[in-house]
Amino acid sequence: MEQQAILAIGIFVVIYGLIIAEKIHRTIVAMIGGGLMIVLGIVDQETAIHHIDFNTLGLLVGMMIIVNITAETGLFKYIAVKAAKRVKGDPVRILIVLALITAFGSAFLDNVTTVLLLVPVTFSITRQLGVNPIPFLIAQILASNTGGTATLIGDPPNIMIGSAVKELTFMAFILNLAPIAILITAVFVPIFIILFRKQIQTTEERKQSIMQMDETELITDRKLLNKSLFVMGLTILGFFMHQLLHLESATVALAGAFILLLLTGEKMMEEAFQKVEWMTIFFFIGLFMLVSGLVETGVISELAEQAIAMTGGDLVITSMLIMWLSAIASAFVDNIPFVATMIPMIQEMGNMGISNLEPLWWSLALGACLGGNGTLIGASANVIVAGMSGKEGYPITFIQFLKYGFPLMLLSVILASIYVYLRYLI
């Protein structure tokens, strides 16, 4: 192996270790790693920039702007309270509807954004019901990672896969991943009821207090709400039609964001841009540059070659290996760097003779997204909810989450494996 390749592997392993250790912020570590690939001459700046997937970045920024502006209107609180009233203030049914709202929201918004919007209103409702919020939060975490699996824009691994593989359109993601995401959510619902119903009992009086709430008061700006809903609808329609319109998903999201800014006026612009998670954006940039070093020095093709040799190029074995490896890895480490590494590897497998890559892409998406449910550190949404809950005096421990998350993650990956096998491999 070339000296440059060994150096690239060394940098990658050290940076990956530092990301897992979480002693230094992952964005700083990834950017330093990406920078080292250029400074040490493994790739030149032009090549590194060429590897940055601007479609992923544009899609994330566009959606962050749209969601942050919409959140200002109180829409998500309104939906949660309205739903709680529809199920007559019953805690078990509220837990289920909030989990379903989270799953649906996560399919069309970023998982972290969805839980950030729904956790505050969950605290509010559970306080009024006089019940422990932790079962609600655990159900929302699990639903968020499952719902995010359903669409191209639902979870970062899907955004990255959709950007890298042009044939996998928004509709293709929905047609292939939404059925299994819906099935897994449907399986989770009765399990949530069995697991949590005894922990969340309340009185008739408290249920009535939920029923008497006036959710319309939660909408803070009706004009802004109308504009946001119009643009959000237009953007989602744009995603459905992006292949017909010959537009990339980032173009659709950014167009939606700037149309909304045009309608809301300049006063919203500064705030909307401030709320974009620039640290996440730069984390992606660092990772793309980091992986560019492995791609350009031939490390990825070497890995792909060895993977094919190991599986004998058998599509079933390769597919299952990718799904389970992605799930187990994603349960313990950040799935974004893992997927960033796996994408060029699967592309390389295509160059080496595996003609039908589709099951491999769906296996990667399902494994990486569903694996996030395995542990409390498996996905950003888990960490964010646990942090919020702990700060409010309801700590969710690693073991407490593991008890629910890991078996349900295994169950979901088993269901996903059966789905992929039956649909694509026989």
């Binding site: 605290f123 709430m213 700060k391 409010e392």
Partner: protein, 65 residues
Amino acid sequence: MKETPYVNELRKVRNFFDENDVYTDVLFYVYTNHKYQVIVRQDYYNDFIIQLMKHRLLKSVEWTV
């Protein structure tokens, strides 16, 4: 709380606590006819009263102990 100026001021108080970093400090529940129920966490009593005072929503404050 039916008079509009008071309702608007109370909305500002609600927004203040809704937008800060603590989610369970002061919880507002709005019922029909602008009837409000507010649940205040003990360690946020002072902050809540200061906000009510700032928005001129208090007639008097009296600590019993």
